[in-house]
């Protein structure tokens, strides 16, 4: 005994190993950062992988323009605290250039992010993008590799994935192709929270319990904001809530919660009976294969 490493340390070591492989074998890697908890953990791991050297790769934020203010101020604080190089890919710019078109009646810019993301990759010629996606989030993700290949159109081909054996990653690719790299593949939501506690990682305040004006819509709690105003037949009320994920304001719901610190959230997560996406994402429920379809097109 004494020579064993814990579950969290094993996941951490596996993630750092992958990050180092990509940083040394690929030419233009970047890290996708949404300001959410998974990307906060991802950024922490990337900084650990090169410590004490400063993380030199660009941090890319695909900005829907539909952000919670707390998330943007958190992003800016982290970028300046660690002296990082931030690149913003703006969905609004894509809309203005008419490369992304908003569907009438659909406020969510979740799907449009794909366009902006692929444009940003093209502009900067990135050959690898670290992302904070986890396999436990969703059934299609459960089949995705750590190092996930994208063709010149940014598309994922689930049936043609390279086998990933031991921890020997094959980073070879043709020009114009790139990889999405998922160091948190094997983490669960609970692992992420336990790790945030273990390494004392700062998060946007909206993850913790606070008071907010909300309406109940399709059995979900939606914050009343400039983009999601109260509808005519709706009653708004002030609830004690927190967010389990942060995303486009128009399609991310809050959950009722009194958990105001990491310990309480770990406790809550351990006893929760609803999945993270089920509780908070308004857009995954449309079809059984919703995520698979979006991923094939180049989504995160």
């Amino acid at each position: 005994m004494g020579n064993e490493i814990s579950n969290l340390e094993a996941l951490e070591a596996e993630a750092i190993h992958l990050i180092r492989e990509v940083l040394t074998e690929l030419e233009r890697p970047a890290l996708l950062f949404s300001g959410g908890k998974d990307s906060a953990v991802l950024l922490h791991l990337a900084m650990l992988a090169v410590k004490p050297k400063k993380l030199w790769i660009p941090i890319v934020h695909i900005d829907t323009g539909h952000n919670f203010e707390e998330v943007i101020s958190y992003r800016d604080k982290i970028i300046s605290q660690f002296d990082l190089n931030l690149i913003i890919g703006s969905v609004q710019d894509s809309i203005d250039r008419k490369t992304a078109v908003e569907e009438p009646g659909n406020l969510s810019r979740n799907k449009l992010q794909t366009v902006t993301l692929l444009e940003t990759i093209e502009d900067y010629k990135f050959d690898a993008l670290f992302g904070g996606a986890r396999r436990d989030e969703e059934k299609a993700r459960a089949k995705e590799r750590f190092l996930s290949h994208r063709d010149a159109f940014g598309q994922w081909n689930p049936r043609g994935q390279k086998p990933e054996i031991w921890h020997l990653y094959n980073t070879k690719h043709h020009t114009d192709e790139h990889f999405r790299v998922f160091p948190l593949s094997n983490w669960t939501e609970l692992d992420v929270w336990k790790y945030i506690k273990l390494r004392n990682i700062e998060l946007p305040t909206i993850y913790y319990s606070h008071q907010r004006e909300v309406v109940r819509r399709n059995s979900m709690l939606v914050a009343v904001t400039d983009l999601t105003p109260k509808l005519e037949d709706e009653e708004s009320f002030v609830a004690t809530v927190r967010y389990r994920t942060v995303g486009d304001k128009t399609c991310t719901a809050a959950v009722e919660s009194l958990s105001s610190n990491v310990d309480e959230i770990i406790e809550e997560t351990q006893t929760s009976r609803i999945s993270e996406r089920g509780a908070t994402r308004v857009d995954d429920k449309f079809s059984e294969a919703a995520m698979e379809d979006r991923k094939k097109e180049g989504y995160f």
């Binding site: 020579n3 064993e4 490493i5 814990s6 579950n7 340390e9 094993a10 996941l11 951490e12 070591a13 596996e14 750092i16 190993h17 180092r20 492989e21 940083l23 040394t24 074998e25 650990l48 992988a49 090169v50 410590k51 004490p52 050297k53 400063k54 396999r135 436990d136 059934k139 299609a140 993700r141 459960a142 089949k143 689930p158 049936r159 994935q161 390279k162 086998p163 990933e164 054996i165 031991w166 921890h167 020997l168 990653y169 094959n170 070879k172 690719h173 043709h174 094997n186 669960t188 609970l190 390494r199 929760s272 009976r273 609803i274 999945s275 089920g278 509780a279 059984e288 294969a289 698979e292």
Partner: protein, 421 residues
């Protein structure tokens, strides 16, 4: 809390997805909304019961055809352990998928249908587990409910399998009678099989001892990354080597030898994720600083001066071919071994192993998809390796096709599937 990684293997209709669904469901790792989605789909498809297999079948084609296409990963935990399941399909791309899913596993779970007993595929799964040197194998005899929970049926399947397994190199073989559909012996002890005195499956997975499966003796530290923060003035003299410890124990003050240069130095400092540490154990990702400034780069290796890996350009290996394009002995390939990638060519193909009969076919000129054989390689420069039997990390490699960039094979250095026959 400890992590156990296991892979599952079985034939179509052995009930593998149902068993995993059952493990997740009975250990309360399924969320209500996920279960509701499955209930709804089961109803839409006209299934007579809630089809737990739908919890793991992720891609559209799989749900439509009721088969599992690719390796899928599942996660659950109990108060005792965290588990990662690599669920590998048994029918198509069988060897490729099982090798992929099982390569990082501590344990493999092989399912058989109690009505059919040991079939060709069962032997194939066990053989692959043996080639990959998975230390623990659990034979789950499923669908016991359809055989009246008969002790005789279970015992005869168990005996037949154990007889076969004695010829393999698997440390620990355990058989458990279960019914994934009814939940007997999956999470709770079965009341229908009072004659069975072993653990139910989940309890076994929680208790199986994996601590001794790692190699704590042979120090091997493949250097992944040289870390020199040149721009930062107060760190200007820092020179560290980032990597994941493959085996052995790395301690401050340890005398080490750098390969290939042959220079010796001592470990001055080890940086873990949470600051400086006195010692590192296998699979920790650390940064190592040496007392002397010697020339080391990615692809090099640190070991002890009196315990070196084999240094050489010629290797013999068991090769699992994973590509639609067969092995062409006239072509050059790339090999990735630890943190080194280099050119290689096949110098001799010895035999093809029939994974169903374990017969060695000596009349061989190529290997095709899902075939396993013994092949010798010559590499463009020396690598630092050990026999896969002693060291999985320094004894394994992948083969890459330079034209397509595909990963075409997995290789185990001088690995053999059988105990001396």
């Amino acid at each position: 809390m400890e992590l156990l990684r296991f892979a599952t293997a079985g034939s179509v209709d052995d009930g593998k997805s149902t068993l995993i669904g059952r493990l997740l469901y009975d250990s309360k790792s399924i969320f209500e909304d996920q279960l509701q989605a499955v209930e709804k789909t089961s109803l839409d498809r006209g299934d007579e019961y809630v089809n737990l297999a739908l919890l793991t079948d992720g891609l559209r084609a799989e749900r439509e055809q009721g088969i599992t296409i690719d390796v899928a990963y599942r996660y659950f935990s109990t108060p005792k352990r965290s588990f990662i399941i690599a669920d590998t399909p048994g029918h198509i791309q069988h060897t490729r998928n099982m090798v992929t899913g099982a390569s990082t596993a501590d344990l493999v779970l092989v399912l058989v249908d109690a009505r059919n007993g040991i079939i060709e595929q069962t032997r194939r799964h066990a053989l692959i587990a043996s080639i990959l040197r998975i230390p623990h194998l659990v034979l789950c005899v499923n669908k016991m409910d359809l055989m009246d929970y008969s002790k005789d049926v279970f015992e005869s399947i168990k005996e037949e399998f154990q007889e076969y397994a004695t010829r393999l190199d698997i440390k620990d073989v355990t058989a458990i009678p279960v019914s994934a559909l009814t939940g007997d012996n999956v999470v709770s002890r079965s009341l229908n099989m009072p004659w069975y005195d072993g653990y139910p499956l989940l309890r076994f997975l929680e208790e199986v001892y994996i601590g001794s499966d790692r190699n704590l003796v042979d120090l091997r530290f493949p250097v992944q990354m040289v870390i020199r923060p040149i721009s930062d003035s107060h760190q200007r003299d820092f020179r560290g080597y980032g990597g994941q410890l493959a085996s052995g124990i790395l301690e401050k003050g340890t005398e080490v030898l750098a390969l290939p240069s042959g220079f010796k130095s001592k470990i001055a400092r080890i940086e873990g994720p949470d600051g400086e540490i006195e010692q590192a154990v296998p699979y920790q990702s650390v940064v190592v600083c040496l007392e002397d400034d010697i020339d080391i780069s990615r692809g090099d290796m640190l070991c002890r001066p009196n315990n070196k890996p084999i240094i050489g350009q010629d290797i013999t290996s068991m090769l699992c071919w994973m590509s639609d394009v067969p092995l062409d002995t006239r072509r050059k390939y790339l090999i990735k071994h630890t943190t080194k990638t280099l050119k290689a060519m096949v110098t001799k193909l010895h035999y093809r192993l029939n994974v169903n009969t374990s017969h060695r076919d000596l009349n061989v000129t190529s290997l095709e998809l899902n075939e396993i054989g013994r092949a010798d390689f010559r590499l463009s420069s020396p690598i630092f390796f050990d026999d896969y039997k002693k060291n999985k990390e320094t004894g394994s490699f992948i083969v890459i096709d330079e034209a397509t960039n595909a990963t075409v094979a997995a290789g185990l250095i001088s690995g053999e599937a059988f105990l001396d026959a």
